[in-house]
């Protein structure tokens, strides 16, 4: 059974101002599935389309972003829905937070600065299941927060009184009040120190292991994926370059871009020279022809400049989009 099936998704930003119109092809033909009970990692550099992808699958499409093609189908078992067709009210009633919750990029600032933390819990819980018994709600929230290893005092604090790591953990606690089937975590630890990052990621892993739900973890940090994700998708310039179980991605990467991402990471205890790719990430308003990676690829061939490679399955659960790799070749 799949929890989420994204098929051939094209989502562009189209803006028009003072006579100049621009189309940024942020997500350009992406297909993948999410299964229950897994941590799925999405990796890529800035402006590779990963944030846009999240916006679309969480139903947060707002002008100037628009989905032009494709489908985003959820199957929550008791409830099935197409995210591109759903109405705002239904989204709010049946999906948001109860089934899909969200840990945002820069989560440090997701808490209302002029209200106590408990009030944010109250707002969210009251929105989705009316609070009738205030004491019961308080009791439940305290238990929830304690179970996640946070002290109860945080509930009575204002956000500016908490440290960055604590705020991030409060954000995770908020995202899990209803035991959602899918938690989308967008760069949840980017601004945090390594020790705090480790603690926060442990918390996410623990929650997932206990409630067997699905976590979609987006981060540019490959080392985090290596330690947290079950499967990883590598995005480049709005398309999927490669997708495979974590072990395969790190031990046998097939796409030259993936190989570069992994091999260029410095590691303590190893001093061999690491190199950068030539060139810069492409401008998605005017992407390169053929394979979008070809201007930077060390193995570029003529075919790459004109024909965009399809995303093909090379073996069980391992897909890659590169002309060097042929179907079933491994």
């Amino acid at each position: 059974m799949t929890l989420l099936s994204v098929q051939n998704l094209h989502a562009y930003y189209r803006t028009e101002a003072y006579g100049i119109s621009r189309t940024v092809r942020a997500v350009d033909g992406v297909s993948f599935d999410l299964f229950p009970n897994e941590i799925y990692g999405v990796a890529g550099e800035s402006s590779c389309g990963k944030t846009t992808l999240i916006k679309v699958i969480s139903g947060s499409i707002k002008h100037p972003l628009k989905a032009f093609e494709g489908s985003v189908n959820y199957n929550f078992g008791d409830y099935k829905v197409d995210m591109l067709q759903i109405s705002q009210s239904e989204l709010r009633r049946n999906v948001r937070w109860k089934r899909i919750s969200y840990v945002m990029q820069g989560s440090m600032s997701v808490l209302n600065p002029v209200r106590k933390v408990i009030k944010t819990f109250e707002d969210i819980v009251d929105t989705h299941e009316h609070i009738t018994d205030k004491n019961e709600f308080l009791q439940r929230t305290r238990t929830h927060v304690n179970r996640l290893g946070l002290p109860t005092d945080v509930l009575n604090a204002y956000p500016h009184q908490l440290s960055g790591g604590m705020r991030q953990r409060v954000a995770i606690a908020l995202a899990t009040v209803f035991q959602p089937a899918l938690i989308i975590a967008d760069e949840p630890t980017t601004a945090l120190d390594v020790v705090v990052q480790r603690g926060v990621l442990h918390m996410i892993k623990d929650i997932q292991a206990k409630s067997n739900n699905t976590v979609l973890l987006v981060t540019h940090d490959m080392a985090v994926h290596a330690n947290v994700a079950d499967r990883v998708m590598i995005m480049y310039a709005g398309r999927i370059a490669e997708e495979a179980p974590t072990e395969s991605i790190f031990n046998a990467p097939l796409h030259p871009y993936t190989q570069h991402l992994i091999n260029s990471l410095p590691v303590i205890g190893e001093k061999s020279t690491k190199a950068s790719l030539k060139g810069s990430p492409p401008n998605l308003a005017d992407p390169p022809s053929g394979c979008r990676f070809h201007p930077r690829c060390p193995y570029v061939m003529d075919e790459c400049r004109t024909v965009a490679p399809d995303l093909i399955s090379v073996k069980e659960r391992h897909r890659v989009a590169c002309h060097l790799v042929k179907e079933g070749s491994q």
Partner: protein, 285 residues
């Protein structure tokens, strides 16, 4: 520059309206140089005539053609506004840039002074001042006084902008490129401050013309100079409304409103255009 104007004309309704309104005002200013009547003389035309083809805005109880008289009024009021704006811009830019870049006690002293000017109720003070200077209160002196009082809020704006610019890395890059404080202010900070200066200039012109109207209505300016304010003063003096000469009040009020609306619309549309954030949002760059 021309392209900017064309873009604004084509895509911004407010800008188009502003150009039409201000075009009318400018036309009046130009016409004043070819006026058939001397605004200083009274009883040159029959008095209390309602608006007609011959006397576009009617005539006053003092026997003046209101339209031609107002052409001078608009010219003088604009002159006042521009002189005031120039004086107060110079002060606010100097104070704002200095306080922001130098910081420390200089900043604290300058800001304490400008805060005081922001909060003080200006009108009573201006009344006191104009009352005492009534005899020497010509247009230029009024402009200077208003300029001396009208800089504080904008100095504050500029200073807070510079304060944040000072913390930006490029200021430190410039320092370590060996650039002196003066050139850092000119090259690195002034370009960010200019949009504020420009926007506040229009705002300040509005403010000073409004202040002139207020003081004139109270009889505290040079009443022999035709301005939008003195027009209303003389109308009040002759009890224009009670006497049924409604056009004497209405015409200057409408011209003032048009001038204000025009400048204000110009201010908002240009302000939005030069604000890099809105621009980025619109062009998606």
């Amino acid at each position: 520059m021309l392209k900017v104007l064309r873009d604004l004309l084509r895509y911004d309704g407010r800008f188009r309206l502003a150009i039409i309104l201000l075009g009318g005002v400018v036309a009046m200013v130009l016409l004043s140089y070819d006026s058939p009547y001397d605004p200083g003389k009274s009883f040159v035309v029959p008095w209390d005539l309602p608006p007609s083809r011959e006397h576009l805005f009617g005539t006053t109880s003092r026997g003046q053609d209101l339209f031609w008289w107002l052409t001078f009024a608009v010219r003088n009021s604009l002159y006042l506004g521009i002189v005031t704006a120039i004086i107060s811009r110079v002060i606010s830019v100097l104070v704002g840039l200095t306080a922001g870049y130098r910081g420390g006690w200089i900043d604290r002293v300058l800001m304490a002074i400008s805060d005081t000017f922001v909060v003080l109720p200006l009108l009573p003070i201006l009344i006191l001042l104009s009352f005492l200077l009534r005899d020497s209160m010509n247009l230029l002196n009024l402009a200077i006084i208003l300029g001396l009082f009208g800089w504080s809020f904008d100095a504050r704006l500029i200073r807070s902008q510079v304060l944040s610019l000072r913390e930006r890395s490029f200021t430190r890059t410039a320092i370590y490129s060996g650039t002196s404080g003066f050139w850092i202010t000119i090259n690195e900070h002034l370009p960010f401050v200019l949009p504020i200066v420009f926007a506040t200039t229009l705002n300040n012109i509005l403010w000073s013309i409004g202040m002139e109207v207020t003081l004139s209505v109270l009889g505290l300016s040079d009443l022999t100079t035709p301005t939008l304010g003195t027009a209303l003063f003389w109308a009040n003096q002759h009890g224009a409304l009670v006497a049924g000469v409604w056009w004497w009040i209405t015409a200057p009020a409408v011209v003032t409103a048009i001038l204000f609306l025009g400048l204000y619309l110009l201010f908002t549309s240009i302000n939005e255009f030069i604000d890099p954030r809105t621009r980025l949002r619109l062009i998606g760059g």
